[in-house]
Amino acid sequence: MTGGTTSALLPRTLLDVRDLKVGLPTRRGHLSILNGVDLHVKEGEVLGVVGESGAGKSITGLAVIGLLEPPARIDDGEVWFDGARIDGLSGDALRRIRGARIGVIFQDPLTSLNPLYTIGFQLTETIRTHMDLGADAAEKRAVELLDEVGIPAAASRLGAYPHEFSGGMRQRVVIALALCANPRLIIADEPTTALDVSIQAQIIGVLKRLCREHGTAVMLITHDMGVIAETADRVAVMYAGRVIEDGTVAEVVRNASHPYSHGLMGSIPTIGERVGRLPQIRGAMPRVGAVPVGCAFAPRCPEVRDLCRAERPAMMDGRTTSAACWQYSPRWPDRSGAAGPEAGIGTAGAESAAADG
């Protein structure tokens, strides 16, 4: 699943987000939405970005492509794409990257397409914006793209309007639109959440196949761990506007270093194993603007120490992944014991289950 991408070829880093901070100026002061996001996507790699609603996954995606809704804006940090810094580029320069080198897929295919134009028009419009093609060549490419994403009788469907397609078919069209100009990276923001479960697998299949064929990297934003486990090479777990764990899928799912990821993975049911109540993490993620001073997860963490409440942990090497957790620092109080967190969270899960039951 993780493939040779990480070790054998050492592919270049395509997207590198460094300490990205996004804020929202309001009348009652400045709200921090992202509190220093670090993540990177290598060429041809699928990075899954997971987290609860409000963790900042989508905002990260939007910030990368310069589509934050004002007044939200990037306060600090850097976004590097393909060796060049792209945050702070002019609107027009960013526009030329969007669609051409970074494709985007949004959540709801039913509303992503303009209802007043045929899909042929929307495809050729996008193709001709980014590629130097004549009308005929653009139309030919549009048909090829529709073919690739699995729309039957593609040539005859160019004149059809979005409302004449089903949801799954529309998301295929959206994928075709994202792939128009052969982008190096696709940012897919919850691409299957609005779809039927049976369609979800198909869409993920199409996305996966095309990206492998074209060598396109994907930043897959979702809260669906099933999709991540099946699709991604690496996972970045987000919590309260930060990436708190980053590692290969296998390691994060089976052996998470951060107590939050550990709890998150514990909440995935396994087929063939009898469980009573699924373990849950006590409490709720802090609201934007009310993130505690130290580790944002401290109030909910079964392993919490004074250090966690006082100071925010940076990313450090965990067991097999990197995690923003003091447990892996030499400053951790009971370093000597070197006990992993799994025992702790296990009891916590059982406790909360018992308390709720």
């Binding site: 492509i65 969007r98 509303t111 134009y117 409302h163």
Partner: protein
């Protein structure tokens, strides 16, 4: 599509028949038409003879059918006041009104849509705020006050533009045009602005509200994410999506322009149908009033028909629903 059109035409005819009935009722029952026509000295016998000659002793239904038949041929009787055929009077005055309405509609649509898009896109700029504040004046001040204000500023104080009349006109066939002479253009500026200002404001505010709404939609976000140029996003994708409600309102408002050019024409002594109507009202000239009523209705109905057809042209989803509607109806 064709049967949809036929359906709409039948509806339009229905509306016109109802208005014709109203018009007929006014003509026959607001006062005694004979009294209005003959002088004080006419004898009872004369009156009775005239009544018979005009067919006023026939049954109401026959009279109504005759009225509709005449109206269909453009025949509305003879004006009491001018002693001339109403149809001739109206045809004489119609070019003035239609030219005025045409110019104000162009002003209202062009400036309304242009400023609406601008204020929608740059909603925080001071210029947008300024335009919106001024547009409040357009909504809240009555037409005659605006007209008089404009006359005071541009005719009386600055002496730039004429305060009344049409200027020189050129006759082309049956059409008296003021749009081919310099003085005609100078004369039409103030009344056209006065007449169109309210409509301009309505369209401006509607386009702005619709733009704000549409710019928030996912497909605009996605169009941006596809890297389309700002122009393609704002005008190709956003503006077109605001058009269905804008066409509705703009259509109704242009109908209003035709029907209610009365006030503007009075203020500027514009020799159009509205002025004719006001003169007709002053003299209880019922044939003119009835004809005007019917004409205004025709204008509204025709514009609404065009609006219905434009919907389908703009929005492909309505083409389908029109067909479905036909299937179930």
């Amino acid at each position: 599509m064709f049967s949809y059109l036929v359906n709409r035409v039948f509806q339009a005819i229905g509306v016109l028949l109802v208005v014709a009935l109203l018009s007929f009722v006014i003509f026959n029952y607001v006062g005694d038409p004979i009294n209005n026509m003959v002088g004080q000295e006419a004898t009872l016998e004369d009156r009775e003879e005239l009544r018979e000659r005009l067919g006023l002793n026939d049954s109401v239904l026959v009279q109504f059918l005759r009225f509709v038949g005449n109206a269909a041929e453009g025949e509305f009787g003879i004006s009491y006041q001018f002693q001339r055929k109403v149809s001739d009077l109206i045809l004489e005055r119609m070019p003035a009104t239609l030219e005025l309405v045409f110019v104000s509609a162009i002003i209202a649509l062009a400036a309304g849509i242009g400023l609406g898009v601008f204020t929608g896109l740059r909603r925080d700029s001071w210029l947008s705020r300024f335009v919106l504040t001024v547009s409040l004046v357009g909504v809240s001040l009555p037409t005659f006050v605006i007209g008089i204000l404009l006359i005071y500023i541009f005719s009386v104080s600055l002496e730039w533009l004429p305060s009344f009349g049409r200027g020189d006109t050129v006759r082309i066939g049956d059409w008296d045009s003021g749009l081919l002479t310099g003085s005609g253009w100078l004369a039409i500026i103030l009344p056209a602005i006065t007449l169109g200002l309210f409509q301009l404001t309505i369209i401006l505010r509607l386009v702005r509200a619709e733009m704000l709404e549409v710019l928030r939609t996912d497909y605009i976000k996605f169009a941006r994410a596809r890297g389309l140029s700002r122009r393609a996003v704002n005008f190709g994708h956003a503006l077109k999506n605001t058009m269905v409600p804008v066409i509705t309102i703009a259509g109704l408002q242009i109908g209003t322009l035709i029907a209610f050019s009365i006030i503007t024409e009075t203020v500027f002594q514009w020799p159009g149908m509205g002025l004719l109507f006001i003169q007709g009202v002053e003299f209880a000239d019922v044939p003119i009033m009835g004809a005007y009523l019917l004409l205004a209705a025709i204008a509204f109905v025709a514009i609404n028909l065009v609006v219905d057809l434009l919907y389908a042209a703009v929005d492909p989803r309505l083409r389908v629903s029109a067909q479905r509607g036909r299937g179930t109806a």
